[in-house]
Symmetry: C2
Subunit: 270 residues, 2 copies
């Protein structure tokens, strides 16, 4: 597939229903489809929040159309692999990678994360990111659209399986970053604890400063010391007319290197 980063979308071979979107960061482009998969704010925040090494190997589980690997490529020179169980989405992700000329840095694997350790060996990755499906099976998945149902519901993998895979695949001391729903916080931390993933940084995302959190970003390290930092709340909107906050715009446009390390540290006094 030939590509042309400045060219028209025709040169990258869009399928029916697909469109080429702007990732708003360093002119990255991404193929999306409202029927199949479009990335959400969650993935953008994960890609900015996750701790990644400057070199080495990084893995993105449940990669969808590859949005997290694409965004991570602006923050690290590591080899980035993305795994996606749905052939249709893995194909979209591969074409997006090609369209940005990143085939030498991002590798999209079509496969099941439960089988990945066998394929790729354990302890292989310096860092792992994952934006797993949020909802347990049997909580209203849309029968008519398997693509969306699999991205949103735990049809292909449960939270427990995702966490187990992260722990098997990451090096000791390596970082695992996840975005999920706050309502499942206790389950997430429980699963991490069972697999020796020790939370190090947690950031809650609130649509407004006076709203409950609707997203949580968690970074853990394999076999780390048990002490976690609770970062400042990330507020999405402000004002009467729901404008994005300055911090959120900075994240969208990639003006913040790593989301969360700018927070004023607090020492537990007393």
């Amino acid at each position: 597939m030939t590509l042309n980063r400045e060219g028209s979308t025709k040169t990258v071979g869009l399928l029916p229903g697909e469109r080429m979107d702007d990732l708003l960061t360093q002119e990255l482009k991404i193929i999306q489809s409202s029927e199949v998969f479009s990335f959400s704010l969650d993935a953008v925040l994960l890609a900015r929040f996750a701790g990644v090494p400057p070199r080495g190997r990084v893995l993105d589980l449940c990669t969808g159309n590859g949005v997290v690997p694409l965004l991570l490529s602006t923050r690290t020179g590591a080899r980035i692999e993305g795994i996606e169980i749905q052939p249709r989405l893995a194909d979209m992700a591969r074409r997006s990678v090609a369209c940005n000329g990143l085939e030498d840095r991002i590798y999209i694997i079509e496969g099941n994360l439960k089988e990945l350790p066998a394929l790729h060996g354990s302890d292989a990755y310096d860092a792992i990111t994952v934006n797993p499906p949020y909802k347990p099976v049997g909580t209203g998945e849309h029968k008519g659209n398997l693509h969306q149902a699999m991205a949103r519901h735990e049809l292909g993998c449960t939270l427990e399986e995702v966490t187990a895979a992260c722990a098997r695949l990451v090096k000791p001391g390596g970082r695992v970053s996840m975005v999920h729903r706050p309502s499942r916080l206790a389950e997430i931390l429980g699963a991490m604890s069972r697999y020796r993933l020790e939370p190090k940084r947690i950031r809650f995302v609130h649509s407004r400063v006076n709203a409950e959190a609707n997203m949580v970003l968690i970074e853990a390290s394999l076999g780390g010391k048990p002490e976690v930092r609770l970062l400042p709340p990330l507020i999405v909107y402000e004002g009467e007319d729901r404008q994005y906050t300055q911090e959120l715009l900075d994240i969208f446009y990639g003006r913040k290197a790593e989301l969360g390390d700018e927070g004023q540290r607090e020492e537990g006094g007393e």
Copy 2:
């Protein structure tokens, strides 16, 4: 001991080093001592945050000088018991209760929470509050002041023991509310999970909106359904000159009935 709510502090029998402070709520008074024990913001927030029934029995573990029972008495008609291991503090708490004329509603027990189930039976309480010592033993406790060392370090009880006591003493479905340090969040939720205390509401407290959290309020229910609400961040200060936020002042002055239920609910979309 006779008392006089409007009278001078002499009528309540202050010991050397003690002073009578204002609790800023419905003219409540409390005996404090900078050498022995003074309550902190943590206790005030816990007393406002905790879910308490209008009637029944409520228990406050690690009650110190009784600040939480005194504040809770403005929010519930329940019988409130406070347990404190240090005789000196239990005595201060009893005198504060008397000074406010609340001897028929608040009962201070001098004892060890690890022995409490034997004394008082299990499943006895509708709600429990606890502001336990925050620091593990061996993290710089002040040898010279046992009162302060016991209030701040886990010398008399560990987080695990506190959580176990809460689970034994509360009725099924009853609420347990705790204030603690966010750095120990994973440990707290892990311990709660081992004793079937399911977190229902969590609120992080940040000194400023752009600061890491330095306090966490958690309400759990015994045997509850696993789904937790992450309430809006509670911000303590704002502005250049560190003024208290309006919400914090409302809490101090008891103008908010229950801290946390006013938050705008978020349904996890997607």
